[in-house]
Amino acid sequence: MAGWPPRIRANSARARFEMNTVPKEHKIFLPLCIFLLLGLFAVAPLTRPGFPSTAAGFRPVWRAAAFWACGWPAAAGPEGILRGDGPLPLALTALLTVSGMSTPAAVKAAFALAYLLAGVFLFLWLAPRWGKEAALVAAVVYAFAPYRLSVSYVAGGLGEAWALALYPLAAWALDTFRHRATWRRGVLAIAAWGLLAFSQPGLALFFALCAGLFFLLAGEYKALIPLAPALPLLLWGAFQPIAADFSDHYPYLFQLFSAAWSTAPSAPGWMDEMPFQLGLVPLVLAGLGAATLLSRRPAAGTRRWAALMAGLILLVVLSLRVGDGFWKISHLASLLSYPWQVLGIVTFGLALLSGAAVREIPALRTPAWLAGLVLLPLLAVYGYLMPAWTTIEPHAAPVGLFGEHQIALVDYRFEGTLQPGEHIALDVVWQDLRPLEADYTVFVQALDSANTIWGQRDIQPREGELPTSTWQPGQIITDTYAFDVERGAPAGGLHVIMGFYDVNTGQRLPANAGDHVLLTFPSPADAVVPACAGGIP
């Protein structure tokens, strides 16, 4: 059975040349180390003190902290089993915290590990087949693909970052099985896909679907066997509810080719600032690879490559609004949070085609050209490697949650004493987790045991200058609310609550304790414990 990716044929002139240039002994340790060193560019921002300020906010931290206490799927968050973070990255993060790391540091380490592992898997898969130069280029293109940077540093999706890391492993395992179908390889392929499923179940199922279609188109029917266990799960997943705002987040075609970069979260409409670019360099190199592959004679493996290219084009189409009908009819949108998540697989495919260009054109394997091809993807995105950052230290869980997990109270601190006649200032750190439509008013009240109000402050955030409808997911808002405790208040037994309400309706946003959060004095308890039942954002 012919291998995929195609191995070099020993009976052609090209193959003879390649046999001479690709060392048989496959000395891949050094180039792998080079890849890891180059990968430092991608993960170095994670070594900065603090935490990346992404659309996900501190959710990965809170979910990881909740993993031991609440288990999975509770820790997956309100997105649920399919679209929430899988147990693998959460467990890994939790394990790292056992070794003494803080949870934010462990989450950052998990992101970094995902980043590097993706390239490692891709390199280890391709190096023996295509040569270390092609594998290095593919790994570097994948490492510095704009979409991957966007997932880690803009969206902040830990589960998806791990899914992107495990696509190459799953593909490697499937290819190994396709090359020679043994039960051992079948188990390994299922295990690799299982790891992917434990990272982000919805994306894993969609990957299995794509892989299955690819093998069908390529005529590699045997390779479908390890994917069989995914079929019932896929059917089950297809009947799960679709994310409410799925259809609002189709990227526009121009966004896939736009050079714009920002750290803003995804928003409905063409003004969406979240970067969706496929990357100039991956597209150019993949185009070069595609052109070379399709024009070569003899056309060994052309069907597979054609299937890959067609599949990538189809996925790009499905990420756009024109694919809306497909998602509605198939109900497969239930697997994804946003349609643009299919771009992760496109990115992976572009990396493969980029590596194929090096494999097909021997001159590109010479040091000078190889250096250029390694530099290009890095330099193309270098300016993006400056994510937004916060130095706020989150607790193990949000101190309070408001609305439908829309606002998190990250931290607070009182200044003053809760006594009659005292002036109290409350410094608060909010984080927006999901968009809010109304402009809510914050209330802070000092109550006695009979819930009599002895001091209060009602005001929109930042004295009305930062209404909640303008808050962006992941945004951190610091604010101060000051009030006086009336002189006639009882000397003891006072407590402070805070919450949000709509000034038009008087309706309060739901919160921890019904419609408000009880604040301990002068700051949250040392160990804020995650509330497992619906308390993990």
């Binding site: 080079i34 190889l370 330099l379």
Partner: protein, 615 residues
Amino acid sequence: MSMAGMKRLAARLWDPYLALVLLLSLFALGPLLNPGYFWGAHDARHSVYFLFEFDRSIQEGILYPRWSPDFAFGYGYPFFNIYAPLAFYIGEGFHLLGMGFVEAVKAVFGLSVLLSGAGMYLFLRRRFGRAGALLSALAYVYIPYHLFDLYVRAALAESLALAVLPFVLWGFHEAVMRPDWGSIAGAGMAYAALMLSSNLITLMFTPVLALYVLFLVLCRLNDGQPFRGWSTASILPGAAHLVHLAVPALLALLLGLGLSAIFWLPAILEQPYVRADQWLAGTYDYHDDFVYFFQLFSPYWGFGVSGAGPDDGVGFQLGAAHLALAFLALLFLGRLKDAGARRFVAFALAATAILVFMTTAPAAAIWERISFARFAQFPWRYFSLVAPFLAGVAGVALAAHGPAGEEEQHWPAWAATALLVGLVLFSSYPYVRAEIREPAEGPVSLAGLMRFQRTADEMTGATIWTKEIPKWSPMADLFINGQDVTTRVDYSWVPQNEILAVDSREMSSVHEKVWVWAVDDQQAVRFYRFYYPGWKAYILDENTEEVLAEAPIETTGPYGLITVPVPQGRHILLLRFEDTPPRRAGKAISAVSLAGLAALTLLRAILMRGGRRHD
């Protein structure tokens, strides 16, 4: 020389790749070609006013200035006694050719850029081939720290030192690998140039250079007799051979030290007499300026300042293309055919790793233990040593580009060269910019110098006799009002009555002659000058101006001003800044070294000519 000889020489010197280095360096000069100047850069004002003050001494006929009379608001400061002067000699040359001070400083910056590329190219041409050397040279010109030095810091002395570093490496490499008088003389002159460009960089670089020389010597020793074949009996002859191999480099070092002794000898011996506390504490405390790991890779670039924490207003990146090419050099190292190239790359990679480590917080323990390390002030200053090594290895990708293969003939090597050169330039191009602005102090003048010093605390240098750093002075008032200072006698301290009368007769930046009449031996004359070794006072005969006696010098007041007790009667008091024994010794050593260098070079030329005739 005949016309044919000239043509032969020109043909020998002409190298299109070197011309390309210079041509492509022009992008880095872009901001210097702007009519304005980046006055807001950290040391932009310093560079201009250092040259301004240097020029004032030169205009007075002082060929080796040491005392800067107008610094410290006119109290004076031995600035060029402790600060390397080469950049200012070059700048003065441009100024004497008709350039303004700002233009002259910009010309020195520009020259340093061109020299740095040329030096790196010439150093690596033999090892990497022309294309590889071209890439390394341009990588050096465009390495972000170099641009940071030019346009964010405007550090004139350090920029010039960066230009000299490749010549030093080249010289010592040749002195070890191909020892002859030419290489020894070249290395010695390059080292002297480095010392005269920046004593700080020299202090930091010399241990690295010593390790490089040791590395090369050990490599040569191994070439002669591989270490694995050594026995205990080999140790003694081996050690002797090691010393023998190291002698040319040692001679070069001695020559370099000798040529530059005019500067470093007094600088070292008399540095303890200036206050260094304001340069080593506060803003200059190195503890606050360690580089975070992420900053080495961050694309951030700014024109702010370095401070405690990760939010520095400046970028400390090593350069994306540079670092990536260095990583790839590891991959291509085995493909290099030239052993010298492989050795340089191996050393350069190790040096880069160690020197980069020195800029980060984990190296704090080393900083604590090395007493002179704190003089570097900012740990990131070690990037100036990283630059030649990191940029040097960039060319490996082209040096390792093997002979054209069967199918490679369709891919000419020049295309790959163009791609990599383009990428290196492209990676740094966004940082080739400066913040051009108007000078807040007004035109370059003494008034401007006073305003500048008032806004830059650390500029007010002081000697150890100064207990209180002045914030202003009566001379500064005069300068600001556009008036000349015709005497530095402190008339507010001299009563000018029936007890004592003084009249300043003559003054320059380094002397003053004062007619004095004192009613008794209890009187003294005070000058608005900081005391520093070298200031001498003499009592002269009023009529013949013959020296009658040397007068003692005391320091008085919180500023430690020069105060000279005068004897009873009418005399001329001469106060003069003179050479101290270290200065005289330094001058003598430099003169002897220079004479020796000239004589030996001449002798060699004569012998070679004789040898050719004999042949």
